[in-house]
């Protein structure tokens, strides 16, 4: 794990990061920072031992690193899939949710709240809360509720209360606003489990640390399997938690390229006239600003109003990105690229058809970049951040609108 105090102030990544939150929350994030240092960084009371044991027994870690044979012969380089889709719950999100819910328990908190976009983080938090016997309430945009129904039912089944958020476009940004408001009201007995490497310090650092198990395992698995490191690690980037989780163990390996694939949506631009961005590519085209507690790269207009973003994938549909990732991109350590909705859907179908793995639409963006990946090198690790069961309804709908090579007919009930 990297040094939490690196840089000018705790929680700063170059110019990015910080703690831009309402005064009422400042004592809570100081308390959280203190708990993070004690339990996570110093393993006080055996916290990290218990966390790792639960990730193994409840979560099913380690997840495999699988050589993808068909993709490898298609591209002419070896593709290794880090199978986070096989983690309990079907996505990498459990690594963080389990870590934070356990930490909340060590801190003596009684109640968990969380925001969710695609529902993967909400689902993971609901599972972790049920597993650790904590009350859980999840904030989710109404639009996302409609496009991610299976996850809504899963959360309810795990005993979580669901709070629909109808303001704005009814997606992750609004759900995050509402969760922050709720936290400001109930901060004394409640922990807010942020779902990505975003928000005020210590969240970006702490969530990265909980997710870094992905890259740590992949690095070890490459060394065991092949006796070498990969040439590249590729991961999709929305908020950036699977991205930082996959990259963190490789950041100091200069020979390993790190590629963050953003959602290009339906166009890589900012439409000032309509005040929206038809993409979620804040690393690629965002400008520095402050949102949800941190200074980072944002999709915003020239006044600083945050724009509605767009992606076919609800989990990437966010106007901000983790501050550490923004800094790594500025430092040219991480390369930010993007693929559009169509390419992501094609990659979804390709992996499903040729490898027998139905990936999340988020993950499909990372997979889609392999098509342009001539410079990725001989050995490429792709983080399969989650499985696509939750996306089936949107995939059927979106596929019907397009002509995607090799996609099956979706009209099976005609």
């Amino acid at each position: 794990m990297s040094d939490v105090d690196a840089g000018e102030r705790p929680g700063k990544f170059g110019e990015y990061g910080g703690q831009y939150v309402p005064e009422a929350l400042m004592p809570a994030i100081s308390e959280l920072d203190d708990a993070y240092r004690r339990y996570v960084l110093n393993n006080e009371d055996g916290f990290m031992d218990e966390f790792r044991a639960r990730l193994r027994d409840f979560g099913g870690r380690p997840t495999p690193l699988q050589h993808a044979e068909t993709l490898s012969s298609r591209y002419g380089f070896d593709v290794y899939l880090k199978r986070e889709d096989l983690l309990h719950g079907g996505a990498h999100k459990l690594n963080n949710a389990l870590g934070q819910v356990l930490l909340a328990k060590y801190m003596g908190k009684e109640r968990i709240i969380a925001e969710t976009g695609a529902g993967q983080h909400g689902t993971a938090t609901a599972m972790a809360s049920a597993h650790l016997d904590m009350d859980c309430e999840v904030f989710m945009g109404e639009r996302d509720i409609n496009r991610q129904r299976p996850n809504v039912f899963r959360m309810r089944l795990n005993g979580a209360e669901l709070n629909p958020v109808s303001t704005g476009s009814g997606t992750l940004k609004e759900a995050t606003n509402e969760a922050m408001r709720e936290w400001a009201t109930t901060v004394e007995d409640t922990h807010y489990v942020i779902g990505s490497v975003v928000g005020p310090h210590p969240f970006p650092t702490m969530v990265r640390d909980f997710q870094s198990v992905i890259g740590t395992e992949a690095r070890r698995q490459m060394e065991e399997k092949l006796g070498c490191l990969p040439n590249s690690v590729v991961a999709c980037a929305g908020g950036g938690s699977n991205t930082m989780g996959a990259f963190d163990a490789f950041v100091d390996d200069d020979a390993v390229s790190l590629v963050a694939v953003e959602a290009g949506g339906s166009g890589l631009k900012i439409d000032e006239e309509e005040d929206l961005a038809p993409n979620s590519a804040s690393l690629s085209i965002g400008e520095e600003g402050v949102l949800h507690g941190a200074r980072t790269k944002l999709l915003q207009n020239s006044d600083g109003q945050i724009l509605e973003s767009h992606s076919v994938s609800a989990g990437l549909d966010y106007a901000g990105v983790g501050p550490e990732l923004a800094d790594l991109v500025d430092d040219d350590r991480v390369r930010a690229v993007s693929v559009d909705d169509d390419a992501a859907l094609s990659a979804f179908h390709r992996l499903s058809r040729t490898e027998g793995i139905i990936p999340a639409l988020e993950t499909s963006h990372a997979l889609a970049y392999l098509e342009d990946g001539a410079e990725l090198g001989e050995k490429v690790v792709v983080n399969v951040s989650g499985r696509g069961d939750k996306d089936l309804e949107s995939v059927v709908e979106e596929t019907e609108k397009r002509d995607i090579e090799g996609a099956p007919s979706m009209g099976v009930f005609e």
Binding site: Y20, P22, E23, G304
Partner: protein
């Protein structure tokens, strides 16, 4: 002495109403401010609407949305302030990103300079804790603006000292945890917060949930030098639209009278 400080000195109990600039239209705001001043407002807080108001409850969120939909922007806000001929000091309440993005070069200086030039007397930035405020404080000092900080029920010990070292104009005492919005009662946390701030050398104005004259009286009787009220005024605008002036003035008068009625039982400040 700053104009905000002077406004508190001029009265026994100050009324600080909040409205969102541009709600329901950019042209409606000037008459609203004049009505509040006529009703007894000592300082007026004008919200510059930001798309992600994380410290605000539903009432002010909706006002902000109406104002944004009607086309309010930072430039129009400053034009509006320039055109206001009222003799109460105006404080801009907005979120940090709008201040940071203003002007050709990113940073706090251009907004603060323009704000001072337009005639604003101070700023309140609810998502900027004292730890992140070095640059903004320096710019406010350079241009003669007060920087008002919020003290929450959870602000104690060293953090409270740091806020009090940096605050100017008045300290905004958050009556309860949570977001802005009208409530049915005055929180017990108010008494506790005022006691913790007894040593502060700036006036203490209590807000979050203040919605009638009785609240204002209780708060001043508990020791406050002023009350901040927002949602009660914003509700009037939501209901009356561009025809809200009379009712804003009447409600300001009710709150001001309530505040003044609290002066007699108010304990001496130590």
């Amino acid at each position: 002495m700053s104009s905000i400080r002077a406004a508190f000195e001029d009265t026994d109990a100050a009324l600080v109403p909040y409205i969102t600039a541009g709600d329901p239209t950019p042209d409606a705001t000037a008459a609203q401010v004049r009505a509040l001043a006529a009703g007894g407002a000592d300082v007026v807080e004008l919200g510059l609407p930001f798309s992600e108001p994380i410290a605000d409850g539903p009432t002010i969120q909706n006002a902000i949305q109406r104002a944004l939909d009607a086309g309010m922007t930072p430039d129009r806000f400053l034009d509006l302030v320039r055109g206001l001929d009222v003799d109460v000091p105006l404080v801009c309440m907005t979120y940090f990103n709008l201040i940071y993005q203003y002007g050709q070069e990113r940073g706090v200086e251009p907004f603060v300079e323009a704000a001072a030039e337009a005639g604003l007397s101070g700023l309140i930035v609810p998502d900027l804790p004292v730890e992140e405020s070095d640059a903004l404080k320096a710019a406010c000092d350079a241009h003669g603006l007060d920087l008002v900080f919020i003290v929450a029920p959870t602000t104690r010990g060293d953090r409270l000292d740091r806020v009090l070292e940096r605050v100017s104009g008045f300290v905004y005492v958050q009556a309860r945890l949570g977001t802005t919005g009208a409530r049915a009662d005055v929180s017990d946390q108010t008494h506790d917060s005022l006691a913790r701030l007894a040593e502060a050398d700036v006036p203490r104005a209590v807000g979050f949930g203040v919605s009638n004259g009785e609240h204002a009286r209780e708060i001043v009787a508990a020791g406050a030098e002023g009350v901040v009220a927002g949602s009660v005024f914003v509700d009037i605008i939501a209901e009356r639209g561009t025809d809200a002036a009379d009712e804003l003035e009447a409600t300001a008068r009710e709150l001001k009278e309530g505040a003044v009625a609290g002066v007699a039982p108010r304990p001496e400040r130590t």
